[in-house]
Amino acid sequence: AALKGRLRSQVSAALKEGRITPTELCQRCLALIKSTKFLNAYITVAEETALKQAEESEQRYKRGQPLGILDGIPIAVKDNFNTAGIETTCASNMLKGYISPYNATVVQKLLDQGAVLLGKTNLDEFAMGSGSTDGIFGPVRNPWSYSKQYKEKSVPKSHSEDEESNWVITGGSSGGSAAAVSSFTCFAALGSDTGGSTRNPAAHCGVVGLKPTYGLISRHGLIPLVNSMDVPGILTRCVDDAAVLLGSLAGHDPKDSTTIQDDFKPFELPNLTDFSKLSIGIPKEYHAPGLSSEILALWSKAADLFKNAGAKVVEVSLPHTRYSIVCYHVLCTAEVASNMARFDGLEYGHRSDKKESTESMYAATRREGFNDVVRGRILSGNYFLLKQNYAKYFVKAQKVRRLIANDFVKVFRSGVDILLTPTTLSDAAPYTEFIQEDNRTRSAQDDILTQAANMAGLPAINVPTALSERGLPVGLQFIGRSFQEKQLLTVAKWFEKQVQFPMIQLEEVKRHDNGVFQHQKSASFS
């Protein structure tokens, strides 16, 4: 079906051949967004502008002058990217109702290539979290909670109330984007990835989640969490689509001084055939406490796949990775404290009614505008940056970060091309279970396998691999060398083909949406 197809080979071709129009495609996505509203994946749906963009795209196709593969393709964007004219909230009271006057560079690039922006997706407030449960618009529900696969395998509950409480989280913080892609409401979505925020929900929602090399994609317009680690993330249904998106987004941006100077040459992924020169590293430290036995088994099965194909598979060591979480905690909170200082209620965003003095207005604004998680991080970050603490915490954390990054350099220098690791410790937790722990504990646990790549700025990708015993997606992560996305994606693509991850069967959606899915099916083609 075009709606579930691959961008380059299927959807784009269908659009070109006129088998479906951009407007039809957009309308179907909008309808599906409505029927999956209970997932809470979107904060804002930009129906009107999306249809207008689709109409413009349609004109281009009619003239035979589409702008490229992305022309007419419905996409969604995490709500921490600025979008001109469409609310950008960061799922925070601080920015509720905030309409940015400009587009983030990545958003602009997508629009310039004809993509249709459906809306803005849900997240943890200011992307601080690993569940997509801590935003002011409520938690995102994992579409797999409503899949036939999960229903069949999870312990059957007799009462509908229990069913209601049985839904699992998407992971985060880009959970809205992952859920949007996973539930077919869009073809691709932008997330952001600071400690795993794209790969983690991708793993839980059974989609591809790419965190590119730091500096490859512009951060201009991405509301920062940790500037030195943030990268725009790409969520798609397959590795090929991720390569398409990467090609349309990567390259120098004069508005972001940390982007590479050179232009980026988009690539199509070849089929991997020669394994004789491929060396896959298995970092032993990723066999972390709490790693579920089924993921461990999957991981070693994946290693065997490569071995059997003829690749060299070696165990490697990244000894400093275990300090990654505590190190991240210091660096992240310090930058958060700094980045959040601008939200004082003066120029934009929420402003408290308290007016006794400028200071009391600041204090009330920030108390009312930020949730406990954000305020907690600001507090600890400011503590680490105090003159008497700076050397003890911040400088030390920077040094540890260097050690963590150097571990990777050494491993890659030893001849390893790609590292293979799990993305998460286990499959997605039910919401009721997840919220038993606080955000900080959760983030620390959930980022453990993804975060080191951010510390080192390396490209990493989650590839959906299999369903767990409970019928939920499980993914594995590939980490590549800096700016070697092509190699990374080529290997990921081969792996993706081997594992044949099953497509989600959204039973529940069918029930919820009064047959939109049925309509889809009848209108689809292959």
Partner: protein, 506 residues
């Protein structure tokens, strides 16, 4: 090191010895000035310390606004007195998601200034965030260079005359600790009646060079002379317009006093100084105040004080925030600033992307000190006159132009420039460019004088006529007013004879 380059010792605040190597002769009552500007009157009670001398120590932090078309990290225009908030980019207003992009021109201006102040230029410098909450600081932090600034370890030589006597010039040197690039803040306007604060962000993000001078000065006069020289250098380089009245040059003075052989005293920081004249006054007042405070058994607080130009004194500034911890951290959105010299310049580098220190060095204009030397050498004028020529914008050029157009010796021309032209300009508060007497007209006049066609008294009369700016040439004025010197001997004899005859007839 105690007040290097400054031999000044104040005895009971009354006298300031000038001594020290290379300075003028013997002690002189320079401290009188400080006493004179003491708002509480001149009487200094005999303190417990009796006659123990005081050594004042003065260091300066100078903020010079960089003369550039656009701001340090954004494309907004830089313009003085534009309508409020008309020069504000998304970045300047700190809209979420915006990032700084370093302005090449600002870096070049800082490199030029660093080279002119004999600094070593750091080939790698870093940017930091300095945090504090203030209404005119939209991001909640200022981007500055706290750890590794762009230029360090320089020096500035400056001269001034003792007792206002042009003949007693003293030259001193102050060490430059560093020059750092940083963002200017916006402006807050407090409307107390309506109890509101209005914020203008036009200035927010304009590039500043903070020039930090070591505490090598010992009185207001030295501080003033150092800043004046810095101002001239900046204006010569074009790196800053450095007009204090427009806030392009802002000076904070750190002042302390101590006894010889003892460690430096507690220092105060004096802000709100908006002219060079007030700088001298503020520093001298503060020295005097501290000495009196200490001699009366009091203590000096490490505080920020503001200079009140109307009262001529410094007053404590209300510091609502108390002690600030600026929580410095590296600016993560700007890579290290890398500069090259010809040796280190990578071969295949795009010239638009690199700054070559040597290239800038080779193109530095003549600095004021060199210009003065050249003037003295070329025209044989007195060193102090070279200072006067450079102190007025365009005066040296005016002088040189006159010299070129007249047969009169430069040594004589300078008298007309510094005595006549300058005093007329001062009297009428005009700049050199606004002078109604052009260099051409003055040269014309001096030629008449040089050819002895008029007397020097008559020349002054003609000059006064020329000043009216009625478009007459000196020769026309001379003819009109019959001011010619008589060259014809016969005619002269006849006049003399007539006078004698007249006498005899009586």
């Amino acid at each position: 090191m105690a007040a290097r380059g400054c031999g000044g010792v104040w005895r009971r605040a009354r006298q300031c010895g000038v001594g020290g190597p290379g300075s003028g002769p013997g002690p002189s009552p320079r401290g009188q000035r400080a006493v004179a500007c003491n708002a509480r009157g001149g009487a200094v009670p005999a303190g417990k310390s009796g006659l123990a001398p005081w050594i004042p120590v003065v260091g300066l932090e100078v903020h010079a606004q960089i003369s550039s078309n656009s701001k340090l990290f954004s494309g907004s225009r830089v313009q003085f007195a534009a309508p409020p908030n008309s020069l504000v980019s998304f970045f300047d207003a700190s809209l979420p998601g915006t990032l700084p992009v370093l302005n090449r021109r600002c870096v070049e201006a800082a490199v030029m200034t660093g080279l002119a102040l004999n600094c070593s230029i750091n080939k790698k410098s870093l940017f930091d965030r300095k945090h504090y909450f203030y209404a005119d600081l939209p991001a909640g932090y200022q981007i500055t260079q706290q750890r590794v600034p762009i230029a360090v370890n320089g020096s500035l030589s400056y001269s001034f005359c003792i007792d206002n006597k042009m003949s007693q010039m003293v030259t001193k040197t102050v060490r430059i600790k560093q020059i750092q690039l940083e963002q200017d803040s916006g402006k807050s306007l407090h409307d107390d009646t309506r109890s509101q604060t209005l914020v203008d962000l036009n200035r927010a993000g304009v590039g500043l060079m903070e020039v930090v001078m070591e505490p090598d000065m010992c009185c207001g006069e030295e501080a003033a002379a150092a800043v004046r020289e810095l101002q001239l250098i900046l204006q010569t380089l074009g790196s800053s317009q450095a007009v204090m009245a427009e806030g392009q040059l802002r000076v904070d003075a750190n002042v302390s006093v101590h006894h010889p052989g003892e460690p430096y005293g507690v220092r105060t920081e004096v802000k709100n100084i908006n002219s060079i004249r007030f700088l001298a006054k503020a520093v001298d007042y503060e020295i005097q105040r501290q000495i009196e405070e200490l001699e009366n058994g009091g203590t000096i607080l490490n505080e920020t004080r503001a200079f009140d130009s109307k009262l001529g004194c410094t007053v404590p500034m209300r510091d609502k925030e108390g002690k600030q911890d600026y929580r410095f951290m590296p600016e993560p959105n700007l890579p290290p600033l890398i500069l090259y010299d010809t040796k280190s310049l990578p071969a295949n580098m795009n010239h638009q992307q690199v700054i070559n220190i040597d290239w800038i060095h080779e193109r530095l204009p003549d600095l004021p000190s060199v210009k003065r030397e050249k003037l003295v050498e070329q025209y044989g004028i007195l060193p102090e006159h070279s200072f006067t020529l450079l102190n007025e914008d365009g005066l040296a050029e005016f002088f040189e132009s006159v010299v070129k157009q007249t047969q009169m010796k430069a040594k004589k021309v300078i008298g007309w420039i510094v005595n006549d032209l300058l005093s007329y300009l001062k009297q009428h508060s005009l700049t050199v460019k606004e002078s109604p007497v052009s260099s051409f007209l003055l040269a014309d006049l001096l030629n008449l004088l040089e050819k002895k066609e008029i007397s020097s008294t008559a020349a002054k009369q003609v000059f006064a006529e020329l000043w009216k700016g009625e478009g007459k040439t000196p020769l026309e004025i001379v003819k009109e007013q019959k001011l010619e010197l008589l060259q014809d001997q016969k005619e002269l004899e006849q006049i003399c004879q007539a006078v004698i005859d007249g006498q005899e007839n009586e």
